[in-house]
Symmetry: C2
Subunit: 447 residues, 2 copies
């Protein structure tokens, strides 16, 4: 690292340097905030200290990816040990086998796994695998839901009232300018949790849909769970139409011991994983039925889906992930969900006391606040106008700068096992202060 005197170690100074070498000064839009992002010096458990020495409580956990907070000793120890043995080889390691065994035993629903490097790669591989298996070109996904940056997976994630079209047949809206029309034409959009409309839409493309892609608790839609009726209806539709049910559990695998999918009476054919299963290191995984996963088998006479990846299944990510998931056992899941529920309850109390038009949605160890009195039940209801978005940013900044609380920029919390009642109390007190302070602005939004 460049030697700098401490006067140069301000968040603004680092960002000024960053602007010379990184587009917009960041490598992930997630960390951007005005007038500049903040830079971490060190982090332990649920506390992050920035380079100016300010300590904050972390309720974001790197976008839900750290189930045990920062620098967990058991993970640090296991990785430190593996470091001495190497980090990547043109050969296998027992680490990938042991971790796949753990995930399959844990899930009870997965038969085979393939590791990749990110959630984006996991969803891309899931979609490609679905196309091979069904020999169909299109996918269907929910309006507003985020599934990484693969063109097909990201359609309509940011659809807005100006372009989303009729709810009976939502437009397919690309996220990135210049997305080829061919990709747009191959994605069907349906309204989340709306059984009748979704089935109608799917029926119009009955012979073309390789998979129906679902995040069972989609953060960007509004962070409320898919109903069992909805998932069942789609499952039944896929059985009738030789299509696959593909779950994106990159974020939601934390919801139950065996993932959010354990909440439903039917099982997905394929599941994309990522985030917490890496124990803080880059990872993604595709899990599913043997019969379908077989299209990836390198022993096949014809390679139907040739697939590799330089860092896929590397022993650092698979070791860290295994330790993290071993620690996140049934008891840990239960106690984390209980703590998150407690926090949600305390924030609901804060909302009542401050008497502000705010609602909460969520599942398991995740929840999200909405600046509207009634909790949204659809993407279009949860959609934020520019005015709302600006107010949320202001509120998030208030929490970050004045209350030393780190939250996801949608006003969401993704808990880690290192949080305790103490931090939850700090959170609900901070929220109460914030709600009182922002009350006039919050009430104005309703008009």
């Amino acid at each position: 690292m460049n030697s700098q005197n401490s006067a140069d170690k301000t968040n603004k100074a680092i960002y000024d340097r960053a602007c010379n070498v990184l587009t917009g000064g960041v490598s992930r839009n997630t960390i951007f905030r005005k007038p500049h992002p903040y830079y971490v010096a060190s982090a332990k458990g649920s506390y992050i200290t920035d380079i100016e020495g300010v300590e904050r409580i972390d309720f974001a956990n790197n976008m839900a990816s750290l189930i045990h907070g920062h620098s967990h000793p058991a993970i640090v120890d296991a990785v430190t040990d593996q470091l001495q043995k190497g980090t990547a080889f043109t050969m296998g390691t027992e680490a990938e086998v042991a971790f796949a065994e753990l995930l399959i035993e844990r899930s009870g629903r997965f038969e085979k796994i393939r590791f990749v490097n990110s959630g984006t790669e996991a969803v891309m591989t899931m979609i490609k695998t679905s196309r091979v298996y069904t020999n169909k070109p299109k996918i269907a996904k929910a309006e507003g839901s985020y599934h990484g940056t693969y063109d097909y997976a990201e359609m309509s994630q940011t659809a807005n009232p100006g372009n989303w079209g009729d709810i009976d047949k939502p437009n397919t809206i690309p996220v990135v300018e210049g997305t080829p029309q061919g990709a747009i034409d191959d994605v069907i959009i349906f309204p989340y949790n709306d059984i009748e409309r979704t089935l109608n839409i799917l029926d119009q493309h009955a012979n073309e849909i390789a998979c129906v892609l679902i995040d069972p608790v989609p953060h960007r839609v509004g962070l409320f769970p898919a109903t069992n009726e909805f998932v069942e209806a789609i499952y039944n539709w896929t059985r009738k139409n030789n299509s696959l049910l593909a779950f994106d559990e990159v974020v939601t695998y934390r919801v139950n011991y065996a993932g959010a999918q354990a909440s439903y009476t039917v099982n997905p054919d394929l599941t994309a994983l990522g985030k917490i299963i890496g124990g803080g290191f880059p990872i993604g995984a595709l899990a599913g039925k043997s019969e379908i996963m077989e299209v990836l088998d390198p022993r096949g006479k014809i390679l139907r889906h040739p697939h590799s990846g330089t860092f896929s299944a590397n022993p650092i990510s698979t070791t860290a992930g295994r330790v993290a998931m071993e620690l996140f056992d049934e008891k840990a899941v239960l106690s984390l969900n209980t703590l998150a529920m407690k926090a949600r309850y305390q924030i609901e109390e804060s909302i009542k006391i401050a008497d502000v038009p705010v609602s909460i949605t969520g599942a398991g160890s995740m929840f999200r606040m909405h600046f509207q009195a009634n909790a949204p039940t659809s993407y279009r209801e949860a959609f934020q106008t520019k005015k709302t978005k600006d107010l949320i940013n202001e509120f998030i900044d208030y929490l970050f700068l004045k209350e030393n609380i780190i939250m996801i920029n949608t006003c969401a919390c993704m808990f880690a096992t290192t949080l305790t009642q103490k931090e939850v109390d700090r959170l609900s007190e901070a929220m109460l202060k914030g709600f009182k302070l922002f009350k006039p602005k919050l009430e104005q939004l309703s008009y």
Copy 2:
């Protein structure tokens, strides 16, 4: 890890377990070999010991990704230190800034960087960025060249005589079954290093091509460099037709201090990086001109290319990468290339002594053997029939099992700075023995 007694610690026993949980028993086709892959116990420098205690010399370096071999002490130390401070945050770190500064200073050609998690992600982001900037839907790429697993980037990577079509207008052949026709239609294929045909083909799609994607020393095409005339001709074509020149240097950045691109009189607009820049950890990066990279800027009024990634620019990969690239200074590049050249020369001697129809291609610290007397100059010339492929596998197995030498399965070596004259001598001796042993089979191939 499951506790096992040592009798269970055979490569076959691990693979048997793997087959129950991983499709085909592997998570990367690269590591697969018949009847089973081999599993690493530990690795140091250029030596890997498998779980049965067999030590081998590593000339593959995890598919060219480890420029300093395994467990380099400076990288281990830096990562061990960062581990104590955390591995990923919803905030920035100075590590990403310092590393971007280093890469930009080193290159002299890059103006801005964005980090991602893999070479696949880097190429995908490069293609998407090209489409935004030019507002054109298609890309052009070379027949046979590998650019990761994004549908558009992987077209015609495995084209064969049965489907590749007329060399004047090569067919676009998808790698994965079920690839949508829309994606196929958006990729134009040209024959590498063939200026006249390539320009003719590009001209037929002059208004539609967002970028021409080139790996300057494409491993799968045959591992020979693009000629300066070829690169210049494409560069000039892109200037005339409002298109971008996009280099995939995920593998080739090792060739010169400032990448293989430093060998040419013209500069690419965008460059995808990966492999060695991660210091053994998952990484990818997009580098290029500020004006183009700006489409990713989160400060824009309209987000033209919204983009994030949970583990992008994480401080482990950027710290390991910075240390690795600092150590890979001008002197180290020169001395590594000299050693690889020496190895190539010694193997050429072995070929002469054994009098076998084998040729070598390569650049910098990489070379590849071809089981044909004259070095191929095109993908179609380098293309291996099933018979050739089987013989190469047999030869690679011989080296691995009898000579304890690890090579890439195309019969290629990607050197690391931990190799010395001693290992090079072992390599050329082993090759000589192998060539003599395989001579009848090698000669038979020529008929």
